[in-house]
């Protein structure tokens, strides 16, 4: 990702944070606001990052994946469902059930990826249609099963949704424990404990960040990554040097599905322990935007996801500080108006003002031998 774009994104995030600190300082100390904003940003960005990474993998290999939303939704459901089954039906302990849930979420994401691969690579169905099929199928299937399994006459659990075994534990980073002895004032202590909140994250959120760098390494510094990109740029040329285009595309799309599956796990196994129909609420499409915003690079997509996270954090904080918003900024009280920010930013980015976005050359084109 080029530096100019990185600088632009950084600038946006700083402006968003600065705005909240400026308005909220009469109520809360800046360090509390900043760390709280950071925590919210990371939380909101986690599924978006994973979804965008899913997009990067598919599209770098030349398969447009518009079905990320459906992949997330179905894996959120099946991950949650398998955790419940493990816990209630097979009687496994909580920890085992939860982690099985994560595993199944990833697996069902991969399965959806496989479906997209079969449709778009083997049957050469238009890739956008393949994605649309996945989206509609996921809505119908999860809604239907959620009802039939848990509600009404003859349902599996006698009409009650059994409670899920729980959510993934927070991994505590002992920032407070290490640094608080060095503090001699209450302010310092507050800073340390506030910062600790940013570091205390759950497994999926942490792995999302790690995966950004792992994906970057794989795509740009390994033979496999080179091949995947070659397949997405010049499949003919790749074929002539002996790369199996179909195999590479299958692998990439299934990996992408797995990443979207992990994003699904975030919703029902890490964040809140329940499934609701349509709970992904369009986040798959936002992921897609983040991927393009970040110019089809893992790190770029991640920073874009952070922009979406930061604007969500701005929106929440503007409501918290609603009564201290100065009159000249009264527009910020309108959450619908604040809500527009990330979408408008995305469109500005797409106009190419700060560097053109260039998709992989063979993205969306079925390969015919």
């Amino acid at each position: 990702m080029d530096l100019r774009r990185f600088g632009f994104i950084l600038l946006i995030i700083i402006v968003l944070f600065g705005l909240v600190v400026f308005i909220g300082q009469v109520k809360s100390p800046p360090i509390v606001i900043i760390t709280s904003m950071m925590a919210t940003t990371i939380a909101v960005a986690t599924p978006l990052t994973l979804g965008a990474l899913a997009g990067v993998f598919c599209e770098r290999a030349g398969v447009v994946n518009i079905g990320i939303e459906g992949m997330m939704l179905s894996s959120a459901f099946f991950g949650w469902l398998s955790a419940i089954y493990m816990f209630h039906v097979f009687g496994f302990p909580v920890g085992v059930s939860i982690w099985t849930g994560v595993l199944f979420a990833i697996l069902s994401g991969m399965l959806m990826g496989l479906l997209l691969a079969v449709l778009s690579i083997t049957y050469k169905v238009d890739q956008i249609i393949g994605g649309t099929v996945i989206n509609i199928l996921a809505v119908g299937l999860t809604g239907f099963l959620n009802r039939q399994l848990f509600f009404g006459r003859g349902s599996v659990f006698g009409g009650n949704v059994p409670n899920s075994p729980g959510v993934l534990p927070t991994l505590h980073v002992p920032v407070t424990e290490i640094f608080s002895p060095l503090c001699h004032s209450a302010e310092c202590l507050q800073v340390v404990t506030s910062i600790n909140k940013v570091f205390d994250q759950k497994p999926v959120a942490i792995s999302a960040i790690l995966l950004v760098f792992i994906a970057h390494y794989i795509l740009f510094y390994t033979r496999w990554g080179l091949r995947a990109r070659a397949v997405g740029e010049h499949p003919k040329a790749a074929d002539t040097v002996g790369i199996n285009v179909f195999k590479m595309r299958y692998a990439s799309v299934i990996i992408g599905g797995g990443l979207a599956g992990l994003a699904g796990a975030y919703f029902t196994i890490e964040s809140v322990p329940s499934f609701e129909p349509l709970l992904t609420n369009g986040r798959g499409f936002i992921s897609l935007a983040a991927m393009i915003f970040g110019n089809w690079t893992p790190i770029g997509a991640w920073t874009a996801a952070l922009v979406f996270g930061a604007s969500q954090a701005l929106n929440i904080n503007m409501q918290l500080f609603r009564d201290v918003i100065p009159p000249q900024l009264a527009i910020l009280q309108q959450s619908y108006v604040v809500g527009l920010i990330p979408y408008i930013l995305t469109m500005i980015i797409l106009t190419g003002i700060i560097g053109r976005t260039t998709p992989p050359a063979a993205d969306g084109v079925p390969y015919e031998k």
Binding site: S28, A39, V44, R147, L279, I316, S335
Partner: protein, 344 residues
Amino acid sequence: MKKLYTLLAVLLVAALLLPACAPAEADCSSEDVFCVGLVTDVGKINDKSFNQSAWEGVQRAEKELGAKIQYIETADSKDYDKNIATFADENYDVIVTVGFGMGEATVKAAGLYPNVKFIGVDQFQAAETPGVVGLNFPEDNAGFLVGALAAMMSKSHKIGAVCGTDVVPPVWRFGEGYKAGAAYADGMMGTTTEVFVVYHSDVGFDKTFTDPEWGAATAKSMMDQGADAIFGCGGITGNGAITAAAQAGAYAIGVDTDQYLTLPEAAPRMLSSAMKLITPGVFDLIKAAKEGNFPVGNYFGAAGYAPFHDLDSEVPANVKAEMEKINAGLLDGSIKTNVPPVKP
């Protein structure tokens, strides 16, 4: 040949489909068959929130009154009329319509089907229509009670509420009642409590109630700012906030029903719930319809606060006493929430 066989098989299935058996069932037009139908607002019957509570009231009528019951889920607001008519045309005796959005369709249907009794949950009747009763709740009172409780229990003197959209009047009344309750408690205890109330504003009404992830993120944000009691008011979105609060060790406050019972994940930290007793309200009205003393206009159901359950020992005796006093004051009208029925 293969094509021929498969086509034949397919045609066979199609032929089976066509003369489908017309269902033979109990006839609602007969005097001795008491039929109750429920039409949900746009949303699912198993929403663990108001649609489901209303349906549980109808189910109670099946058990206790021997009613024949059925529901229809509305998928789009333009189907309101048709969904109500589906029951009315089958001569159902009572039709329960859930949600303020169906208010107009319900009144309209009452004009077309004068023999049917309509129960409109959360539908305030500005004018009386024969055959329609609006089942309403003083949500502001319930919000007031838990707001006062949260303010009295908070150690940081910062409390929060994470709600669905304020476009829905009952939700708004919960949120504003919460603020008013906290202010009342402050006046009594001489404290200053900061109240964060955040309403979810998404582009679809239904989405604002089904976004647990947003609810959790918002609750965390409030707790980062020091809040130590979170009221989740707004279906599934609120559930997300409640669960997040409980996980972080803050006080969690539920809504609508005693969520200690419906949200086991949050139960250990569940301080109370702002209750709006839809299930008994719906049942009582169905029973009234069967017994022939169906009211007209508005019927006010009960609202209150749920027991403290696991945290009972943490609540000081004076707080408990104050809560009872406030509840009594709200009931006899000596304490007023001053929350208008609709957002101005």
